[in-house]
Structure formats: C-alpha cells, structure tokens
C-alpha cells in the first residue's frame, strides 16, 4: 500500500461513476424504514422483516423507531383522527431525503372504515411514493413496493415534495381540528319528540313487529329446530 495515486496502473480494475449515482446506490441499498404500524398490516410488515421473507436481502432490515434515523416511512394500518397529527409530526421529523410507502387499503384509502374518525387515505396529508393494495397485503407486495422505491432512487427521480405553501417546512406544525363553530357547522339537534312523522311511518312499515322481536323469534326457532333434530 505504499503506492501513491500517480503510480496507480489500473491493473486491479476500476470503475468510473457519477458521485450522485454512487450516493443513490448507497441509499437504495441501505434504506432504514420507520414502521408506522397501527393495525393488522403491521403484522404482515413484521413477517416481511423476519427470517421467512427476510427484508435484509434488500438492505432494509435496520428498523428505526426514531424518525431522525430513518428515511423510509411505512404507514401500515388505519390512521384515525387522533393519530394524524402524530403521523404528520413524525414525517416532518424524518431527515431528507425520505420516502413513504402507504401499505394496505386503510392507509391508502380508508378501506372499509368510511366513518367519522378515519382518515380516508394518508396521501391527503403526507406525500406517498408507493401504494400497496391488499387487506392486508402479502409480504411479497411489501417487498415489491420496496423494490419500486429502490428503482425510484436508482432513476434519481426527484422526491415527491409537498409542503405547506405558506410556511417553511421546518416550521410546520400540524393544525388541530377546527371547531364546529369556526367551520360554520350547525348545532347538533335531535330529539325523540322531534322524530318526523314520515320516519315513524317508514319504521312501522319496515318493522311491523320490531327488529328485536323478529330476531328473538328467529333465534328461538333455530334453537328449537336444533333440539328436536328436525
């Protein structure tokens, strides 16, 4: 090792590359995922990470539970109203460059949970690079998504950068829920007395005997049938 650089002959072989490509090569083969697992998709994610599917083959086995040390966020599971500010906060704390996988139907679209508390797709609020369909997706799908991220890095694509236009990204603070009054919503009303006549008529037609009575009768009938062996 006493040779200096002028004496190098190239006999050992050498490659030439662009610095950016070298950096991208390093990045895509050492993705450090941040698991944002909130539901059953997280179980599949754990299976993907463990020995059977072995995400280590793709250099992404170093799970970091600190956003400061990770560059790939895997949102796996439902995100509810109370979780969304946390998700935005954690995403903002990740250093750049960063990527995001939205794993499963719930994280991507809200899934079957079309209710008052469920965020209908995290991509409304944070930029997502790869969506994985499935409920929950197979580990192969997650591996495929990781490979898509790797290809994206290899191509040297610009990151999806979505920021609040009005503020510097570092100053970003998730905004909490706006109150009803501020959103111009009417006060909730509802009373047993104020049930419209039309509803009463409809209900009488729909449930002549009442749903509970009918259900009980049905259960009774089923049970008797089982007992008598008929």
């Amino acid at each position: 090792m006493s040779q200096n650089i002028n004496q190098k002959t190239g006999e050992g072989g050498y490659i030439t590359t662009k610095l950016q490509e070298l950096i991208n090569w390093g990045r895509r083969n050492s993705l450090w995922p941040l698991p944002f697992g909130t539901a059953c998709c997280a179980i599949e994610m754990m299976a993907t990470l463990s020995s059977r599917y072995d995400l280590a083959r793709f250099g992404a086995e170093v799970i970091r539970f600190s956003p400061r040390q990770s560059d790939l966020m895997i949102v796996s599971g439902r995100v509810c109203l109370k979780m969304m500010p946390v998700l935005i906060e954690v995403y903002n704390q990740m250093p750049e460059p960063k990527w995001c996988i939205s794993m499963g139907a719930c994280a991507s679209t809200g899934g079957v949970f079309d209710t008052y508390t469920m965020i209908q797709g995290v991509d409304q609020y944070i930029p997502v690079d790869v969506y994985i369909p499935g409920c929950p997706p197979r580990p192969e799908s997650l591996i495929d998504a990781l490979m898509l991220i790797q290809e994206k890095i290899k191509r040297g694509e610009k990151q999806t950068k979505l920021y609040d236009r009005t503020r510097h990204p570092l100053d970003f603070q998730p905004v909490a829920l706006v109150s009803d009054a501020a959103a111009g919503l009417p006060q909730l009303t509802g009373s047993r007395q104020s049930l419209p006549e039309k509803d009463v008529e409809t209900q009488k037609q729909n449930f002549p005997a009442g749903p509970l009575e009918r259900a009980v009768t049905h259960v009774e009938r089923t049970l008797t049938r089982g007992k008598n062996g008929t």
Binding site: I88, T115, Y116, T117, M118, L177, S179, G190, N206
Partner: protein, 175 residues
Amino acid sequence: MALDLPSLLASLKEHFGDDLLAQTEFRGQHVLRIRSTANLPVLRYLRDEAQFEMLTDVTCVDSLRLPPGMQKEYPERFAVVYQLYSLTHNERLRVKAFVPEEPCEIDSVTPLWEAANWGEREVFDMFGVVFKGHPDLKRILMPDNYTGHPLRKDYPLKGRGERDRFQKYTEMPER
C-alpha cells in the same frame, strides 16, 4: 352459594320503591331498570348488601329512532348500563339507568368502584352523558378539541367533515 334473586328484588323494592322501574330476564340474564336519580344508592346497596363486588363495564345505549313498538322499553333516550359481577355468588346483573336528554346527567359511581372512571369517560365521550362527581371527566377516545358525541344516533356516520379538516400539504413552488 347461589343468589336468592326474588328476596333481593323484594328488599330492593322495599328500599327504593318507585325508583325501581322494572326487572326483566332474558335467557337467564337479569336486568334491573332504575331511574337515573337513584343509581348511586341502588348500586351501593347491590355492592354492599348483595355482594356484587365487581363492576365489569359501564356503557350506554341511545334509543333515538327506536321502532315505535319498542319505545316503551326505553322511558328516556339514554340508558347507562352497568354490568355487575358477584364474585361471591358467581352471578351477573345488568343495571340500566335511564337518563333523559335534558339534563343529560347522572351521578358518577367512581366513589363505589374505581373501575368506573374510564368507562364513564368513554360514555361521556361517545354519548355526552355528564357524570356528576367524576374526578376527571374529559374525553378518552376522541381528540380533546373534538366537538360532538359520535355514538349518538343523530351523529352522521361519516362525521361532519372533521377528517378533512387537517392542514393539507401543497406542492412546493420551484425556486
């Protein structure tokens, strides 16, 4: 030692009279229907005299839009439901206290059972029933600044737009 339910009922009737609305049974499950104003003394009696030492759950039923034939079962809109368990007798008892819409409040049973604390907070969060004397009555499931009580029957299933009210990211302009 099995529980002597008829004599328990008789003594309850003697102690509380009209506050005891009804007692029903369905498939071996006993339900006691009471006025909301009497929940604390009735439950204290059940705990101390009838050995129902354990409160397994506190929950609530909203009977708005009940089919007309069933409205007599619910004299008021809300029913706060206490699920009791007796370790001594290996018996369970359900106590329903009917809470009107206005004022929508009932005494807290946290002086009797510590276990009621979070259950009552959940009922308050989801149904808006106020528990008087609760040590820390605040929301437990929904965010603190949420308004409305989502498990009430008049609350829209898909919410009132709360899930769309977060700050949205927009594309950053090129520099």
